[in-house]
């Protein structure tokens, strides 16, 4: 009985959407949860010594001061430019690399090991060395972001390729498609949901990578504001970039989810979305 109901709801997506609209929307629940959490933080945080903790209104004041002095905009630009470059490169290199490693046994045997090992790489230990090579500016930050985010993207793509049903490859072969065409027209679209999941995982790692790089260089960007405020015991100011980064990472994750729904709409319809 349960199974037949599920099947119906998949066959008629419009009906399913209508049924869900009648319940409380997701964003409302998320917003309510956020309001309660912030209120609790404000209430409890005021009793804490400002060196050991902070609270939303104090952070808001610190935010306003940082924004007015222009310090925040400069730091954001200094952080986001290498972030975008490193993350973009990670996608541009990681996806094709994962595709070919997953598709061709020879390449998998030859290069798979580096990808797996690279994923477990204790990158923080290598940052000082990277600084020696690349200096203290843009290049080293972009490199650290690239190295932290390329592996989850590549590994997920690789796994996704291996999960492509053999029968879909057979469709391409039976239509006399070349290997390159099969890769581009069948394997890539079939792997998209995995690729997007990899990019999503990489967002968190990339943000951490950027901050770690800035901690070490301690000259510019949001990471520098964090570490310099912490050294001056200015906890409220320290929280400003931390929260900005959290919001940024959440926005990016949401954006990637939105892109995923656009480029792979079939996935949401096939996968079970019927949750309690």
């Amino acid at each position: 009985m349960v199974e037949s109901v599920e099947r119906q709801s998949q066959a008629f997506p419009e009906e399913e959407r209508e049924a869900r609209a009648a319940t409380v929307p997701r964003w409302a629940i998320t917003s309510a949860s956020l309001v309660v959490a912030l209120a609790l933080w404000e209430w409890l945080g005021r009793d804490i010594n400002p060196v050991f903790g902070s609270y939303p209104s104090a952070i808001a004041v610190a935010f306003w001061e940082l924004a007015r002095s222009g310090q925040l905009a400069t730091a954001l630009a200094q952080s986001l430019q290498p972030f975008a470059a490193g993350f973009g490169l990670a996608i541009l290199i990681g996806v094709p690399l994962g595709l070919v490693i997953g598709r061709f046994r020879l390449l998998e045997a030859a290069f798979g090991i580096y990808i797996t090992a690279g994923y477990a790489l204790p990158l923080i230990a290598l940052v000082p060395l990277l600084m020696l090579w690349l200096g203290l500016g843009f290049a080293v930050k972009a490199a650290v972001v690239l190295l932290m985010s390329i592996f989850p993207i590549c590994i997920n793509t690789w796994l996704g390729v291996r999960a492509v049903p053999k029968s879909l490859i057979d469709v391409g072969k039976s239509l006399v498609a070349s290997n390159a065409t099969i890769l581009r027209r069948i394997v890539l679209p079939a792997t998209l949901p995995y690729i997007m999941a990899g990019i999503r995982l990489a967002v968190g790692r990339a943000v951490v990578a950027m901050i770690v790089a800035e901690f070490f260089t301690a000259i510019s960007g949001l990471g520098a504001i964090i570490i310099n405020s912490a050294n001056n015991f200015d906890t409220a100011k320290m929280f400003v970039p931390v929260i900005i980064l959290m919001v940024l990472a959440s926005l990016l994750t949401w954006l990637i989810g939105a892109i995923e729904r656009r480029v792979a709409p079939w996935q949401a319809e096939i996968a079970g979305r019927d949750r309690e």
Binding site: P165, L168, D170, L175, A190, W266
Partner: protein, 260 residues
């Protein structure tokens, strides 16, 4: 023209069972032919090698020994002279029905207005013109398989190779599609090699039935039912239907033929 000839086709492959290598003889000197415009069913229990034989005929797998000829030309890999219809339709889920049909044509190098026109024509042939913008998950199993057939027909192959195309469908949908296949065959006169494990289906659609068992051709029977057979309800009531069905059943169970 579209004549398929399997000559002494054998297929062996190695299988690893709990560390020990085992050789499996999937096909053992299989020979039969499908004449131009004929429908031949290939029937047998699962594991008898019927799908392997079909995949070798398509060029998706290679034979260990023997040859497959299509109009006298030896099969070496896939080609546009053969169109494959898969067990589960195997439509590309990110494409609409129309785009799935176009996909095959694009692979063949058809471009521009001819592409659109031919794809629409084939969808119309299977009665899905109005559902052309739906994606596979918005189509029923029967509709998906009709798109699969349209995709194979679009490249205008000489031979249609069908791998248990209706096996995953419910009984009523299956009967509807069997009728549609016969209707399509009457209009296009394509040669069809049709793999199935369903006795009724094997008799209903075919001119001849090749019965396979354990990698060998057990028997080849002619179906003495007249065409057109679009009205399957009447065909089912005929004594020839029941008799042929019973003869195949005996062959499947390796019983000697009885004298009727």
């Amino acid at each position: 023209m579209g004549e398929v000839r399997l000559i002494e086709v054998s297929k062996r492959f190695a299988l690893r069972v709990g560390g020990a290598a085992q050789t499996v003889q999937a096909l053992d000197r299989v020979s039969f032919e499908v004449e131009d415009g004929e429908i031949v069913s290939l029937i047998g229990p699962s594991g008898c090698g019927k799908t392997t034989a079909l995949r070798i005929a398509m060029g998706l797998e290679s034979a260990t020994a023997g040859r497959v000829l299509v109009d006298g030309v030896e099969v070496k890999g896939c080609g546009y002279d053969r169109g494959m219809v898969f067990q589960q339709a195997e439509l590309l889920p990110w494409l609409t029905a129309l785009e799935n049909v176009k996909f095959g044509l694009e692979m063949k190098g058809v471009r521009g207005a001819a592409l659109e026109e031919r794809a629409m024509q084939c969808l119309e042939l299977v009665g899905l013109k109005d559902s052309r913008h739906r994606r596979p998950y918005q189509l029923s199993g029967g509709m998906q398989q009709r798109v699969g057939i349209a995709r194979a027909l679009a490249i205008d192959p000489k031979v249609l190779l069908m791998d248990e195309p209706f096996g995953a469908l419910d009984a009523q949908t299956r009967e509807g599609l069997q009728g549609e296949l016969l209707d399509l065959h009457r209009r296009t006169r394509k040669t069809v090699l049709f793999v199935t494990h369903d006795l009724d289906e094997a008799v209903l659609v075919a001119d001849r039935v090749v019965v396979m068992r354990e990698g060998r051709v057990e028997e080849v029977l002619t179906v003495p039912l007249p065409r057109p057979r679009d009205d399957l309800a009447t065909v089912r009531g005929r004594t020839e239907f029941a008799e042929t069905r019973y003869r195949i059943w005996r062959a499947l169970h390796a019983l000697p033929a009885t004298a009727h």
